[in-house]
């Protein structure tokens, strides 16, 4: 049902082309299915809010030098702990006189770095291991799952401590610790999906055409697992950011004077009663981004997970 007027002739034909019942090329079919998924996603207002916030995060990270009003590392003890709005500090200044807003802006790069690394590494490792274990079964499955169990047994913070003492403190080691403790959950998810798909008729059919295990896993099973992994990692992202912030809070992650949001909260702990903004501003930033990921994840699940719909 096309509501609204289409003033542009090309708009009409592009949309019609994308929604056509009988695509005439591989490219058209692929684009059409992406477009349909987008339309479905777009009808969920909360998910759009989440997407918007995350796009803002990316925007801010990219244009940090332009957007920041002050040098994030620039100290000026004469204006330390200024309230928001005074002395040219939009969100106030911290205990060393640094502009909180600028630090938040530059800190978004660190947040994005953490998100990107974890989102790329953990699910991919999990996908490889989970689908191999689920499809091949037998001893391979047992061995891979026991390895998974070993990694699942490590509490994140303890592992981070171990890394820090072995390799030195820093955001990279904190992220590594997070990835190493996050991938097992994705492996299990991928394995569960594989087990439920493995005996489907369409898998039997392609086996009957002579396809080998590798092709089946990569071309047939992965495409079906990817949706649940994407949804899961998006919903987990809030927790991951909080964990990284927690590590930063403990001094195990980003090191001073790096403007990592968790570390900023830690620095502001002492002043929370009289100079609330030093800890609260970074806290709100973490809250906003975590919420955004949750909303995005819910929206993606509604679009990608067919079980909730007919």
């Amino acid at each position: 049902m096309n509501t609204g007027t289409q003033t542009n002739q090309t708009d009409v034909t592009l949309r019609a082309w994308l929604l056509s019942d009988a695509p005439t090329s591989r490219r058209q079919a692929k684009l059409a299915s992406i477009y349909r998924a987008w339309l479905s996603f777009r009808s969920n207002p909360m998910a759009m809010v989440g997407l918007f916030i995350l796009m803002m995060l990316v925007f801010v990270a990219i244009f940090a030098p332009v957007l920041a009003t002050h040098n994030p590392l620039g100290q000026d003890l004469s204006v330390r702990l200024s309230p928001p709005g005074e002395n040219g500090f939009f969100l106030g200044s911290d205990s060393l006189g640094r502009d909180i807003l600028s630090r938040l802006i530059y800190g978004s790069r660190i947040t994005l770095y953490i998100v990107a690394l974890v989102a790329l590494l953990a699910p991919i490792v999990g996908l490889f291991i989970g689908t191999a274990a689920g499809y091949i079964g037998g001893w391979t499955d047992q061995a891979l799952m026991r390895i998974t169990d070993i990694f699942l047994a490590f509490p994140r913070l303890i592992l981070a401590l171990a890394f820090v003492s072995a390799l030195g403190a820093g955001i990279e080691n904190a992220v590594l610790a997070i990835v190493l403790t996050a991938w097992p959950a994705y492996a299990r998810l991928a394995r569960a999906e594989t087990l439920s798909i493995r005996n489907s008729d369409f898998i039997s059919a392609v086996k009957l055409q002579g396809a080998g295990s590798l092709r089946i896993i990569v071309r047939h099973i992965w495409p079906l697992c990817i949706s649940s992994l994407v949804i899961r990692v998006t919903l987990d992202m809030a927790g991951i950011i909080l964990t990284a912030a927690g590590l930063g809070f403990l001094g195990l992650g980003a090191q001073p004077p790096s403007p990592e949001w968790g570390a900023m909260i830690s620095e502001g702990r002492r002043f929370i009663l009289d100079h609330w903004w030093v800890a609260t501003m970074p806290g709100l930033a973490i809250f906003a981004v975590s919420l955004a990921f949750n909303l995005l994840g819910d929206g993606l699940r509604d679009v990608l997970d067919p079980k909730g719909q007919s």
Partner: protein, 249 residues
């Protein structure tokens, strides 16, 4: 005068699991399907009829006995040559196509697996053979009706140019009016392409329409082998066959 048999089974047993957990699905099955013939396996659920197909294709279960395809005995694994001679159409059109692959993808993947050339030409040809126009080529399964999906499944089975088609209840999940179309298509294809059919069904009327010979199965055993003429003339011997007959009519 020897008749060439496309499929021969002799004392075939198929079982799942080992030791205490062993379940015998098929016991001492023996029958033969002539080249170009159409043979039906009828029975109720749990009779073992689908399991025989799975044993032939190597998709499930452990088996022992003799199975000859085009005169050659089957071994532990299936070769490329086997896949190019024997193909299967599955029962549920909603489960036999990968939900994320277009029709074109499904057909071209098969061709590239066996290094066929002229992929585009062959796809166009097979889609015409099964009565689907070119407008269906780039659709996803959820954009197709049950009958259309089953046609795609048949196209997928035919694209490797096999000589034997195994049909596992190919129309039981379809509406009656769609079933008629698909059965007519299968009738035409068998004639045009000189195929041999081994069809599994619980529906006596469908088997009566499509097949010339029938094996009636109950609890894993073949209880009777008949021709369709015998069936129509009610010349059935085994009591189970009679029971099945009476319940169907």
């Amino acid at each position: 005068m020897t008749v060439n048999n496309s499929i021969e089974l002799e004392d075939v047993n198929v079982w799942f699991g080992e030791g205490v957990k062993r379940v015998d699905a098929v016991l001492d099955a023996s029958f033969a399907v002539e080249q170009g013939g159409s043979f039906g396996l009828v029975g109720e659920s749990g009779s073992g009829k689908s399991t025989i197909l799975k044993a032939i294709t190597g998709l499930a279960g452990n088996w022992q006995g003799k199975i000859n395809i085009m005169g050659k005995p089957l071994g532990e694994t299936r070769t490329d040559e086997f896949y190019k001679s024997v193909q299967m159409v599955f029962q549920d059109p909603y489960a036999s196509l990968h939900p994320r692959h277009t029709v074109d993808h499904v057909l071209s993947e098969t061709l590239s697996l066996h290094k066929f050339d002229n992929i585009d030409e062959r796809i166009v040809k097979v889609l015409n053979e099964v009565g689907l126009g070119q407008s269906f080529r780039f659709r996803y399964p959820h954009q197709l009706s049950g009958g259309q999906r089953q046609r795609v499944a048949i196209a997928r089975a035919l694209i490797l140019e096999p000589s034997i088609l195994l049909l596992d209840e190919p129309t039981s999940a379809l509406d009656v009016s769609v079933q008629a179309e698909i059965l007519n298509l299968l009738t035409d294809l068998r004639e045009e392409l000189n195929l041999t059919y081994l069809m599994v069904s619980h529906d006596l009327a469908v088997v009566g329409h499509m097949c010339s010979n029938v094996a009636v199965m109950n609890l894993g055993k073949i209880v009777e082998l008949l021709t369709i003429e015998d069936m129509r003339a009610h010349k059935t011997e085994h009591p189970y066959t009679r029971e099945l007959f009476e319940a169907s009519l």
